[in-house]
Amino acid sequence: MVNELTREQQRELVDFLKRWGIDHPLLIQEMFDHYSEKALHAMDRGLSWERTLQSWKTKSTFLAFRRMDKAFTEHQEKYWNRIQRKHLCKLITLRNVFFLALIAVISHAVVLFKVGLLFLAGLFALKCIAAFALMVVQVVRKRTRQILSIRNMSFYYIFYVLMAQIAFKTISLDEGIFTVAQSPQALATFFWISIAADFYSITLWKRVKAETNSLTLQMLEEHIPKLQTQ
């Protein structure tokens, strides 16, 4: 009983499949397995490899292979289109639509330049106030004072003060109309500092969250059992 085709026979089989009209790699893989099995059974019945292979080389095989390949390619395209549509539909959520709309509004404002600067200056002024308020709250609160140092918060505050200052310097009010008073370099600096500040706030936020979690865990593990035993 023959268990497997030789390397040479396998090579000839792949060659036959390709020459007789199968192009798609996935279909070649499937047909390779099918025809290997078919050949092994034929050889078990006493047919030689050469005769088996020769018996397949007919016009009807060629036409069938071409038809199969065409149908398979069409199905594959439909399948991938369906998957793509499914994933696209999943992406259309209320949250994503909201963020896309927000990005579109901000981008539009930035393109309009003057309005963009005014918008961003206002936005960062608010951020600056929020940062200052947050710093005061964090320092006053005993628990978070352990996590964030005054230096941490000062950096945070300085970032936003700097941003607000640059933003306000790049625009000026001239006879009731806002005009751009500074060069594009100032605008670029402003954007880079803004990105750095946001990055720094995310880092701080993550740190506060991690430390708070660990303090809560510590409290659960140490203080509560102590209270229970008292």
Binding site: N3, E4, Q10, L27, Q29, E30, M31, F32, D33, H34, S36, E37, K38, S60, L63, A64, F65, R67, M68, A71, F72, H75, K78, Y79
Partner: protein
């Protein structure tokens, strides 16, 4: 003599039935089992078998998995949940058809 033409139109039902009975199967196995189950009447050619399987897969009635066998990759087909329901519906449909055909032939033979 091959009676393949008589099975025309029932191929997908035959495939779904075989998969319902046997769980997962690969292409060559399906064609062999169909031949055995019909006493050699239904010889499914590759040109009919694979397009039918791929169509059922594209319709979501079959799912596939690949497995290495020796130095080859083998593609196994199995019914999805929808495919299972569809298989049962088609078997019932086919049974109805066979019963009606049998009745028709019985009457025809009785009338000479």
């Amino acid at each position: 003599m091959s009676k393949n033409h008589l099975y025309k139109g029932t191929l997908s039902a035959v495939l779904l039935t075989l998969l319902e009975e046997n769980g997962r199967m690969y292409g060559y196995e399906l064609s062999k089992r169909a031949l055995e189950a019909t006493n050699g009447d239904l010889n499914i050619t590759e040109g009919a078998l694979y397009p039918a399987l791929h169509k059922l897969e594209a319709e979501g009635l079959l799912e596939t998995e690949m497995e290495r066998v020796g130095n080859r990759m083998r593609k196994y087909y199995r019914l999805t949940e929808t495919g299972g329901k569809e298989a049962r519906d088609r078997i019932a449909e086919l049974a109805d058809y066979a019963a009606n055909l049998q009745l028709f032939l019985k009457n025809r033979l009785a009338n000479g």
